[in-house]
């Protein structure tokens, strides 16, 4: 049959496309795991690390709403400590380095948060 070549070509293209990540990995070499750089001596963020890794976006979101809409600035953490809810004041005191901290994971996972649509991006030496 004249169409066998056509079918096999189609099949090959499909399978090749499906395996695109494998080709990409083979060409680029295996990617390094991101290591967000933390410039602080503190042992823990406002909440435990595992919690922060998963839910920091929600925490920041809550902070923003509480501060902007209800004018409350004090956050009571799970362990009873209180911190001031402020991205530039609190967060960035330990994580001033957006490129080396925030972007490390965000770029890795193609996340594009809109924090910096209102806040001024920290000026960093690159």
């Amino acid at each position: 049959m004249r169409d066998r070549g056509l079918i096999l070509t189609g099949l090959t293209i499909f399978l090749a496309l499906l395996l695109a990540p494998v080709w990409q990995a083979a060409l680029r070499g295996s990617a390094r795991k991101p290591e967000p750089k933390i410039v602080t001596k503190a042992k823990q963020c406002v909440e435990p690390t595992a919690e922060m890794r998963r839910n920091h976006m929600q925490l920041l979101n809550t902070w923003r709403d509480t501060v902007v809409r209800r004018d409350q600035r004090t956050y009571l953490a799970a362990d009873g400590k209180t911190v001031t809810m402020s991205l530039s004041g609190t967060c960035m005191s330990c994580h001033p380095n957006k490129k080396e901290f925030c972007d490390a994971c965000h770029n890795y996972l193609a996340v594009n948060p809109y924090c910096w649509e209102c806040h001024i991006e920290p000026k960093e030496k690159s």
Partner: protein
């Protein structure tokens, strides 16, 4: 009952993934089974397609859904009754991309006094299209876990999908559409007695499985958030053929991955192969040029009918009597 069993089965499978990984099966559910499933999928699909390709298409049996190309002044229907290979290719492509045949769907109903009414019925078409496209987008979005750096187009798809910027993490439209469409497709099988009658376990199970995959994914994104950095490490490890299971992968991730592995394994043995089969349908992918170009049947059997000579021999006297000319005259 069939639907209950299917849902229970998928629920059980999810639990197997969830607890299996916690009970020390992380490498099994994170590495071994995904690899196996992918291998079964790739080989299975290839075997299926090659199997179809090995059987020839002896006759050109296009289903014509429009005017043939005949006289120059009669407007032919190039898509629904293509007379060229290009037209047939376009017909298949549009079938795949827009489900044109399903778009024709209508509903015939018998009214009092034995009258049939026909009304348009686009729900199946809309739900099918919604499901397939949202699944495609969700599938493509997952590329962010498997590629480093993430291609710009994936980021672009994500941006578009989360265009409304509702909630945090931003809610993807396709997540909602996927679950709603699957829900509708499952519901219609149950609600319509006719469909319930024709539905097999093999119809409920894939729907339940896809729902399980979609819902576990939704949970992971919006509710019980996973450590996505760790997940990506796992994924990159798989595709770079240096698999490792990093610390901190949530059990629900394993449940999600296990359900996907089940889907990949099940796929080549099920009706889901329509994904590949739709391209090969002889009533759709052949041009209706039967009388223009001879179609070759590779196994055309050497059959000879009742020949003229045999016929003339039998009816010789009657032919002569009625004055019908014989062959030698």
């Amino acid at each position: 009952m069939r639907v209950v069993w299917s849902l229970l089965l998928v629920g059980a499978l999810a639990l197997v993934g969830f607890f299996g990984a916690q009970a020390g099966g992380q490498a099994l559910f994170g590495i071994v089974l995904p690899y196996l499933a992918m291998a079964v999928f790739l080989v299975g699909i290839a075997v299926r397609v090659v199997g179809w390709a090995r059987s020839p298409v002896p006759f050109r049996i296009t289903t014509t859904c429009g005017q043939e190309r005949s006289l120059a002044w009669i407007k032919a229907s190039p898509l629904d009754n293509p007379s060229t290979g290009l037209g047939a290719a376009a017909r298949v492509l549009l079938e795949v991309l827009t489900f044109r045949s399903l778009f024709r769907n209508n509903r015939s109903e018998l009214r009092d006094g034995g009258r049939f009414t026909v009304s348009a019925d686009k729900w199946l078409w809309a739900a099918a299209l919604a499901f397939h496209y949202s699944f495609l987008v969700v599938f493509l979005r997952h590329y962010r876990f498997f590629a480093e750096p993430v291609p710009a187009v994936v980021a672009w798809i994500q941006g578009l999908d989360g265009f409304f910027q509702v909630g945090l993490p931003v809610v993807y439209v396709t997540d909602i559409v996927l679950v709603v469409a699957l829900g509708y497709l499952l519901w219609r099988r149950l609600a319509d007695p006719r469909l319930r009658y024709i539905s097999l376990p093999a119809d409920y199970f894939p729907l339940a499985l896809l729902l399980g995959i979609a819902l576990s994914g939704v949970l992971l994104r919006y509710v019980s958030k996973a450590d996505v950095v760790a997940v990506k490490e796992l994924a990159i490890g798989l595709v770079s053929l240096h698999p490792t299971v990093p610390q901190g992968i949530d059990p629900l991730v394993f449940a999600h991955i296990f359900l996907v592995s089940v889907l990949l394994t099940y796929f080549p043995f099920s009706k889901l192969v329509h994904m590949a089969g739709v391209f090969l349908s002889p009533t759709r992918n052949l041009a209706n040029d039967n009388r223009m170009r001879r179609h070759i049947n590779p196994w055309n059997p050497p059959i000879v009918g009742h020949t003229y000579a045999e016929w003339e021999h039998e009816f010789h006297d009657k032919l002569v009597a009625s004055g019908i000319p014989l062959d030698e005259e």
